[in-house]
């Protein structure tokens, strides 16, 4: 087994480890207990495993854990601070943008980075759709998700 020494922060907590080069970032995060990161399609189509690497959303199933060396990882667990939900998480709750919930953590991270990137811009419906095209919801609850993005944007 080939390993590489890496260090990273996950939701601001520092980690240092010898990482198996064959491991995906998704598997690593789940093994460390960050189980909001879902194993969906495993091939970068559904976005259920979306996390932020240095604030950029990526499919963690298609990302070698060793690539996260020296990076700051954010998962949905970390968006909740001092027992309080983030603006985006709250908006999902308030709009009822959750059905089975499997896609929700990935979508939360996509929305979080989408709104951070477009801060101060009045993003329209189409931009929201395009910005969330990498996350599939098989309960087909997209309208409430878009409503949640719009609600969080206004906060």
């Amino acid at each position: 087994m080939q390993t590489m020494k890496i260090k990273m922060t996950i939701n601001t907590k520092a980690y240092e480890m010898d990482m198996d080069v064959r491991k995906s970032l998704m598997d690593l995060l789940r093994e460390l207990g960050y189980t909001s990161v879902k194993h969906g399609c495993g091939v970068g189509e559904c976005g259920a495993c979306t996390v932020l690497v240095d604030d950029i959303p990526i499919d963690s199933c298609l990302y070698l854990a060793v690539w996260a060396n020296n990076c700051a990882i954010r998962t949905t667990e970390g968006e909740c601070r001092d027992g309080k939900l983030s603006t985006v998480q709250n908006a999902y709750v308030e709009e009822g943008a959750v059905q089975c919930g499997f896609c929700t953590p990935g979508l939360i991270m996509t929305t979080t980075s989408f709104l951070e990137k477009n801060k101060g811009r009045n993003v329209n419906h189409d931009e929201i759709r395009v910005g969330h095209a990498g996350n599939l919801c098989r309960c087909t609850g997209y309208q409430t998700i878009i409503n949640a993005v719009k609600r969080a944007r206004k906060k």
Partner: protein, 291 residues
Amino acid sequence: MFPIEKYHFASSVGDAVQALAADEKARIIAGGTDVLVRLHGGNSDYGRLVDINGLRELKEISIDAEGTIRIGSLASFTEIMEHEIITKHVPVIAESLATIGGPQVRNAGTMGGNICNGAVSADSACAALIHEFDLVIEGTAGERIQSINGFHTGPGRTILKKGDLLKYFCIRKEFYQGFSASYYKYAMRGAMDIATIGCGAAVKMQSDTIETLKLAFTVAAPTPIRCKNAEKVMENKTLSEETLQAMTEALEEDAMPRDSWRASKDFRLHLIKTLSKNVICQAVENRGGMK
């Protein structure tokens, strides 16, 4: 766990070339959006990897004094799409890359991978062809420059040899200055899909006359193609229904679409003819948007 048998994290371009040349079965991994999908499926052709993600110099996007634009092969689709140099001088590249996958895929995938994996449907290929990209390749014998014209040799095949590493795409000023361009991807879905047909056109106008047309397609032949016959028909012509009609007839000489589960040959030919007209008209309309 991905079934990776051997893994080398390259420390320099030279180190990557050496590692690639030393192992007959070694493959480059960059963004991973193709290679890791193949590995996930258990494809053992991808078990021996040379990882180039440490080569930060290959992420740079710049323009030199002569106006040559240089895009590093490791720059992500998103980094390219959002770069000021690209949106200002060669916006059709940004327009094309925006049609790839979804945000997460574009944040990881690279144009180097999109071109070098030889995909017939590569969304960056039309832009590469109409702006006549030069590919700067490092090999065991040193650096060489290869035009995008002739780079693709078949489905999934290119002229790259063992030990070759694509470092940069270069776009010479003569191939973008004065041109306006457009790209259209026809696919079954608005995102996360492979092109049924992709069409790119660049035009250089002399008032109302098309002085030069560059027209390219993906999925219209065993490789991404330029359409020399159709281009010739439009040369020094004004846009009219008749000239466009003559152009689409000439396209039958250029395009060799095939039947696949995505679309029939006839439907693809219909798309090729229809899209060519629309995309050329859009390229003409986009005049003034480029410097």
